[in-house]
């Protein structure tokens, strides 16, 4: 396993009110090698604290976390990890080259390799012309791409990204997604902490939804978004046919001249097809029902309240 957490918790008391805050409240997760794992949750749900616990930036109140089988408090456990924090503040006195060189040296990358790798990565993230420019002059999107290059300097086996496309334009976002895709094909495990559900849906194959410091739902993305039943859409549906199907359908809605029906099983959907054809309706589409990640997310967060 790349990441294993067992009952990981971080509680703290507010400075003045002394109220106990359970930022992370007993999270147990496993992330397998080669996975693209998405961690979702509303603001303040404990996602970033969870990542900080993994990287030993904060100490757990209870439980434990292991990276590549090592206790996460062991600095060696972080050696194969690349990290891009959410609200990063890279030293503005460094140039792009210097920044990559500095963080790679802290990861133990020797000098000739650092020089070569920095050149490759600056090229890869489209900043090869900006390597000698001080970071203070970079735009938000450029900083994000440089941050990603920094995380890749030591060829990590696990990449932890906290809102990687924050501030990046759609083209840059696509480039980042492509880059992460190629890393994943090479076997890098990616742990993505993002509030952009579309991005997670496009990229991750496993997700966990965190709410109030706990895992409210976790599993393969395909399973979580798989709905039960069949969605049927038809045009020219008569009122009579609609009445006949009202009992069998779990949901009926009119939409731009079409009527959408949701049936609980295949038999009900087939019967409905017969009724609609008899009545002269035109079938637009029929498909197994699926939920979007957004629907799953909203439902899960609502239920967890």
């Amino acid at each position: 396993m790349v990441i294993v957490t067992e009952g990981l918790a971080k509680h703290f008391r507010r400075a003045w009110s002394r109220r106990l805050v359970r930022a992370v409240d007993g999270i147990s997760l496993e992330v397998q090698p080669g996975t693209a794992f998405g961690l979702l949750g509303p603001n303040g749900s404990g996602k970033t604290t969870f990542v900080k616990l993994l990287l030993s930036v904060v100490a757990p109140t209870e439980g434990q976390a292991r990276l590549f089988g090592r206790d996460c408090r062991d600095p060696q456990a972080r050696a194969p990890v690349g990290y891009l924090p959410e609200n990063h503040r890279f030293p503005t006195y460094q140039t792009g080259w210097q920044m990559l060189d500095f963080y790679a040296a802290l990861s133990g990358v020797p000098e000739p390799e650092r020089r070569r790798r920095a050149g490759e990565l600056l090229e890869l993230v489209g900043l090869s012309d900006w390597g000698d420019v001080r970071i203070g002059k970079y735009s938000k999107g450029m900083l994000q791409r440089l941050g990603l290059a920094q995380a890749l300097m030591h060829r990590p086996q696990l990449l932890i990204l906290d809102e990687p496309s924050d501030g990046v334009d759609p083209l840059g976002r696509r480039q980042i997604r492509d880059l992460l895709g190629s890393l994943r094909r090479d076997g890098t495990t990616i742990f993505l902490n993002s509030h952009l559900l579309g991005e997670v849906e496009l990229f991750c194959d496993r997700v966990a939804i965190v709410s109030r410091g706990r895992v409210a739902l976790e599993g393969p993305l395909a399973e979580l978004t798989a709905g039960s039943g069949y969605r049927l859409s038809a045009a020219r549906v008569t009122e009579q046919a609609r009445e006949r199907l009202r009992q069998a359908a779990t949901h009926i809605a009119a939409n731009n001249g079409l009527v959408d029906f949701l049936f609980p099983d295949r038999a009900a959907a087939n019967s409905a097809l017969d009724v609609l054809r008899e009545s002269g309706a035109e079938i637009e589409s029929i498909a197994a029902a699926r939920s979007t990640l957004e629907e799953v997310f909203l439902r899960t967060v609502e239920e967890a309240k």
């Binding site: 100490a59 456990a77 990290y83 924090p85 609200n87 890279f90 030293p91 006195y93 802290l106 133990g108």
Partner: protein, 279 residues
Amino acid sequence: MRGPLQMLALVRDTFRESLARKIFWGFLGCSTALILLFVLAVNIDLVEGARAAVTLFGQEVNRGRVMDLDLVTRRILGAVAAFLFTAGLFLAVFAAAGLIPTIFEPGRIELLLSKPVTRTRLLLGRYLGTLGVIAFNMAYLVLGVWLVMGIKTGIWNPSFLLAAALAVFAFAVLLTVTLAVAVVSNSAVLATMVTYFFVLISPLLAQHERIAPLFRRQWARDLTEYLYYLFPKVYDLGNMARLAMEGRAFTTWMPLWSSALFGAVVLAAGLWSFARRDY
């Protein structure tokens, strides 16, 4: 192998930051100005080799008296040593306060801690880098003045270099305070204030034998004595530098080792606190 590489990277990064923040250049400029002052303003006319007439900014400072050249050189170098222990230390503490706490900035510390580097090494690297920036500038000033005076007088007083080493040592001790307070408070201002407190209280506590009897209560007298032995003895270290300049033997080594002990304890406390802090 990773340890020295990380340490070197941290020290180099501190130098880089000091250059970018103009701290390094500010120090270097002040030191260069002082060296130039010695080059241009001090003029020593040799009379019969060992005796001299000294002019400063064209004014004769020995008013026609013939002075011992070695004494003149010692006094001038003594003034530079005094400068190092007063204005030099003040400037150094001020400069260091701008370098140490910056690594605790949110968004920067998380990334540093995510690297496979121990927290002790991370902080020690920053400490050594800051010490290196200041020590380099102090060495530049001292060697510059020493060379100028040596060339002008032909007298090469090695005790001046010892005085400079004592000034760097005093700064190294004070820097542990800056570091520890910055770790605990995350505040550059507070770190500077507390460090200045130790600089300012040092001459007062150095008079503990005179001050303590002035208190009516025994606990106040005891406290004065305890604080004197507990706190870093910047003033006493300055006195040691003066004794060295005058070619006199030290009467005691206590200010040196007790300040070193203070620095070691405060540094250990700072490292201990940093190892347990959440960011």
